[in-house]
Amino acid sequence: MTATAWRLAPPVAALLFVALLLPPSRHLLESSMTFQMLVQIPLLIGVGYLLREAVPAPLAAVIARWNQHGVSGLVLASVAGMFWMLPRSLDAAVSLPWMAFAKFASVPLLIGLPLGLGWPQMGFVVRGVFLLELIATFFRLGWLYLVSPLRLCNNYLLDDQQRAGQYMLVIGGVILACVLAKLLWGRFNST
């Protein structure tokens, strides 16, 4: 993306965030497990990722000193990501207002933003580890959701859970295909 386009990132992030907060979109996206896990939360991560353009340069420089190769940010994003992968958390985010608040605050700020700030600093190896772990997580969770005979969330139906599982396998496969394509035909900075 060009520098001009990136200048638009903070207002786009703000708009997207407000759109996700509107009651109709919340109602729609939280009515199914598939939507919440695979649309709403990824979009909230996107909001945080775009927000990196709003971080003042001096602050970004301080963070970068503690964040070589984006590793600290990756650790933070992974731990926060694990929290929001717990079926309990998804359930609670629908049932309890304060957990909904926690979701809308923490997913952009603790997952999206660290990824956004760290990504440009990540070298080939760190990106590779991150992407492979992401793919493996999609496959593991997808498989679990697909085969579990029990409902993992009290707020969602079993067929919804299995559909979410199928989509996770598909998404994992698509990311894998993209990584493979990049490895085979892409161009790399030799770092």
Partner: protein
Amino acid sequence: MSILRTALASCLLLVLGGAVLTAATDDFHAFTTETARRLAVQRHPPTVPAVPLETQSGAQLNLADLRGKWLLVDFVYTRCISWCLAQGGEFAQLQDQLAEPLAQGRLLLLSISFDPVYDTPAELAAYQQRFHGRGTGWLAARPRRAGDLQPLLHTFGVTVVPDTLGGFVHNTAIAVVDPQGRLVQILDMGNPEAAAGIMQRNLGP
């Protein structure tokens, strides 16, 4: 130096994150709401609210009036064509296996409807008959006031979600209420022998 700082920051984040995840999963015991509520009930048994009920015979009673006996409680709706069928059958089996304490009045089986508009006393009675309910020791009831339903479901940790066929999907379990009116344990459905065994132990000799 930047590497050391990054290592330090990462370790700190890992420790903090680990602590949060530990707390969020009850020390990695409960990853789902259902497990969490079972653990929570065992650690801090909540007192069951005093809710006025109407039974299958049209009799009125308050949940608080049932203190002094052990209760096995499940939540149903009589139009159900899936899980609740197993639930009804299981309570009928428990009537046989726990016949003695039921006859002595030390124990009561209670099915509470979360669909009180449809589940009139007549529907509740028909529900019990479908499973050849033996009459004694098993009450099917609905809350008399609509406003009581949510607090009741909340205490017992039951979440009811409308399904695509005009019915409901709900987590099914058997709740054990002790004579002090506290919800002390939540048992799995589908294993009446185990539930009966646990209740025999609770009731003592």
